[in-house]
């Protein structure tokens, strides 16, 4: 039983509040949060790769080739573990299904890796079946660097730290391996509807 905080009323009738997972609140702006400086990589040096456990490259696209892939426009709700949620965000990107099409793998897990050294881990199935994208457009504009541009992972059904900014590739793995935040106290899976914020949740 939670203790009652004397005199606390709160802002309970926030419009749309029924649409957010437990412990979240809605924002209109788009907060920026990350562990270090925003990396700057010129597009001519940018590429996106899919690699296996040994690091062997299974697929690679430079920026031009990446943009030539079939793109999708998606509208999704996003939920950050720091408790803000934002409804109806519009993105343009390439489905991970498209990126992995034709790659033959027994992998059950993936590690997303990024400029700046950030990593995050996910079960491979969470990246498939239209549930994940590599996004390069946001609200009709190019994705800004502070929000992860030129391209970021977008996995809206998990807490937003799984949607790695400044994405440079996916490693397909047989075994799970905790990523950056997952190694320092944050939940390995991160389902916002089950409030999997931290280790032990």
């Amino acid at each position: 039983m939670a203790v009652v905080s004397r005199g606390f009323q709160g802002r309970r009738r926030q419009p749309g509040a029924g649409l957010v997972p437990p412990g979240q609140y809605l924002v209109d702006d788009f907060p920026v949060l990350s562990a270090g400086p925003t990396p700057e990589v010129p597009l001519e040096r940018w590429d996106l790769t899919v690699v296996d456990e040994s690091g062997a490259v299974l697929a690679r696209w430079d920026w031009e080739a990446f943009l030539a892939l079939p793109a999708e426009d998606v509208t999704v709700d996003i939920h950050c573990v720091t408790r803000w949620s934002k409804l109806g965000t519009r993105w343009r990107g390439v489905s991970v299904d498209t990126l992995l099409d034709g790659i033959d793998t027994d992998a059950e897990f993936a590690v997303a890796f990024c400029d700046g050294g950030y990593t995050t881990n996910l079960p491979l199935t969470d990246l498939l079946d239209g549930r994940a994208w590599v996004a390069y457009g946001y609200e009709g504009e190019a994705l800004e660097p502070e929000h992860g541009g030129p391209a970021r992972l977008l996995v809206p059904h998990l807490y937003f730290w799984k949607s790695a900014k400044w994405l440079r590739g996916l490693q397909l793995r047989a075994e799970d391996e905790p990523g950056f935040w997952e190694s320092v106290g944050y939940h390995n899976y991160g389902d916002p509807w089950r409030e999997q914020r931290y280790w032990g949740d």
Partner: protein, 253 residues
Amino acid sequence: MPAPTPAPARWLVATVAETVPETARAVTLRLDVPGWPGHRAGQHLDVRLTAEDGYSAQRSYSIASPPGAERLELTVERIDDGEVSPYLTTVADVGDQFEVRGPIGGWFVWDPADPGPVLLVAGGSGVVPFRAMLRHHAATGSTAAMHLLYSARTRADVIYRRELEELAGPHRAVTLTLTRETGPGWTGRRGRVDADLLAEVGWPPEVQPRCYVCGPTPFVEAVARALVDLGHAPARIRTERFGPTGSAGPTGG
């Protein structure tokens, strides 16, 4: 990789033992939290407020007290249209209770085992986790050089001003800079934290200081970029950016 953090699975009851006004907008709450497992300097925690009808709201706040302090301390700055900070800064009084869960975050932390030097750069209430680090530095007698560069708008907005003066010493330096009004008699710095100021009060990149930057997003973006431009390795720079409610935490947007 930093040492693992124990899972902060349990909500604990926090009772306000004392409130200390810091500025017109910021208050330090000294809390009794039976069962608090301890924390590292720079970590944060979650606060949960619950109304009589069961409605609750949660936010994250940096911990202001060093590891091992007698009481757990939070310094909260009021956000006028916020949901939790107005309660914590203007309603919560001695004897009032809410819940906390933590500690959280094993990245934006400083440990005495780190040989230093350490540059701390704060914007506004971003100084809170650095107060924990400076006090921990003092309490452990660390000889790692630690320098806080703290930007506030006006003299009246400086949180912990007297305490920071007292904490400055042989291995700890504090530099204040005011971006708006300095007022008569101000002998400190004026203006924003930019590359020139960082080059002057910080260490050169060759010394490889660990840099921590905490504050509102535009401040953190500008300072982190300036540090990289000066030649500091991005991997030596740790940032914590405040969301719209002034709460601390990792990643995301």
